[in-house]
Symmetry: D2
Subunit: 186 residues, 4 copies
């Protein structure tokens, strides 16, 4: 039995929908229990109790939502001090509106969340290009949901993005189960 | 007359000392007024009233302090919508303890703050290698103050780092005065 | 009189077209001379003779073309040792095909080129959101030209992207002229 | 039986020593065969034949050595097209001289190599903080060897850094063996 924690912040519900899809994908892996929580409601014990952690955020000015950052500062720092998460599994996802067709800061957003996981000694699961519908909602680091078109007219998160998110959750749950059995570090 | 806003968050006073040194350097440029404020006390009007903005943060788990991020999410997003900061000048600095001799995430920390400034259309002032004492407290993106040695034993921010910070403030105040006179964009 | 050097690598001509547009924009600024060169043909003296440098690259596996990197390693390192570029002006642009709508690594690509410029002590000019047609070919760090659609079917670089590139060249030429007159560092 | 490929570029032998230590660590894992090659000598078939790939580079102007980038552009792009590396294991290491105590660009250097691996769909192994001697030669993304002191006086790569590199090789070989048995993606 392995456990996955899906953490998110959301403004208008887009990232929340993606979080639900990630959770659904993780649950589809036999022997996996999933907890889905808003960042504000997560504490260090929740994180420590998990074999895999997935964080999702809206992109705000090229980095993660401040509520995610508050969680990392106040709850993850202690886990880092204690080396409590070594060898567990991590992944990320994000949503974003904004202009253009280049993500408006989503790469740095995902990387700064992954930086936290790397400091915690966690193994990072990317999103392979041949994941079904990747071209509709994927980035190499994880699912990315456009919530507006290039003119910032709201479009909502597409079903395609939710399918990609589900795959990501499934991948991470599989990896968490596998790596729980056999430690890599030490 | 040009005005510089120095914004910071600080846990044990190290980043605050650096912020004071940055402010002192900016003040040394004739015709410059400087405002020094904690992130919690800054609002969008403070930012918009400035010709140059410098943000400093402790490095927490490889990214900026959540109080800085809260400021960016709640105050800078609106300025971005309004294109209110185009062509003004920006810079960053950071402090960090932690292990090793590679900054423990300071690069991504600085870059995610600079990402915010780039989205605001602000011109970015780096820290040149021949700045006096650079090798004691410099990184290409701005001053970096080690607040603990490689074993995490607290050392405080050195006088050398404060000198580097002063230079950075001076550079940015000069650039702000210059770019205020002659717009680059448009 | 100030001089701008536009450097690029190109596989199928997309980045070259953008480079030509950037050069055209720079030339439109009175008193500016422009040199446009492939990375293979640039040496340290070319760079040192310039008041502003703009580098463009295709995105390859999430970072710059190896010919750009070879130029940086073999020609820029020496300029860094000599502090030869301090206070001059820099900018970047990129093209990319690939899947999805998140740039496939363009942010890290641009940032790693900007890292080189920051180490050289150069002042960085971003691309403001209210640049005309930004939403068709802009990223906060510089113009980004999609050369294929989300299914990797080649589309070529659009006229809109070329217009954005022209604006970027014009901005940087203006900044170079201004900063040449009045040194910020030292 | 699983196979690890250690790829490196080296100027003065520092990164080569680290590569040898990484290879030694990987070899210490039962059932692992290791190939150690300079970037110039590696082709796509070498990479595809491996269950885990580790790349090491000197830091040059804040990004990877151009010989590493050439390898990625010419050999990895095709593997990306073919989805040939999904679910295999990846890691990085770097050496650097330069000023200061913040790594001079090592984070972006490591991240741009990891970006390549993420695009290839490879699972990323970081370096946990409690790895013995981490504080002498570790960064969250992998071993980092200082080859000069803060004044750029050459110091060579320390024995401590080599020990950290050995641990990293061992971790990755273990992960490669484990993930070879049980696919995570698909």
């Amino acid at each position: 039995m392995s456990s996955i924690l899906v953490i998110y912040a959301s403004d208008y519900g887009g990232t929340e929908k993606m979080a639900q899809a990630v959770a659904k994908g993780a649950e589809s892996v036999e022997g996996t229990s999933v907890v889905l929580k808003k960042a504000d409601d997560v504490n260090a014990a929740d994180i420590q109790a998990s074999d895999g952690v997935i964080i999702g955020t809206p992109v705000h000015m090229g980095s993660m939502d401040w509520r995610i950052k508050k969680l990392i500062d106040t709850q993850c720092s202690g886990l880092w001090m204690q080396d409590a998460m070594n060898g567990k599994v991590a992944g990320v996802f994000a949503s974003g509106s904004g202009f253009g067709s280049a993500g408006g800061g989503v790469e740095l957003t995902m990387l700064s969340m992954l930086n936290n996981f790397a400091e915690l000694g966690m193994i990072i699961i990317p999103l392979p290009k041949n994941t079904p519908l990747y071209h509709k909602g994927g980035l190499q680091w994880g699912p990315y949901g456009r919530s507006a078109d290039e003119n910032m007219s709201p479009s909502g998160i597409s079903e395609d993005v939710l399918k990609v998110s589900e795959s990501h959750g499934r991948h991470i749950a599989r990896a968490a189960a596998l790596l729980k059995e056999t430690p890599v570090f030490g």
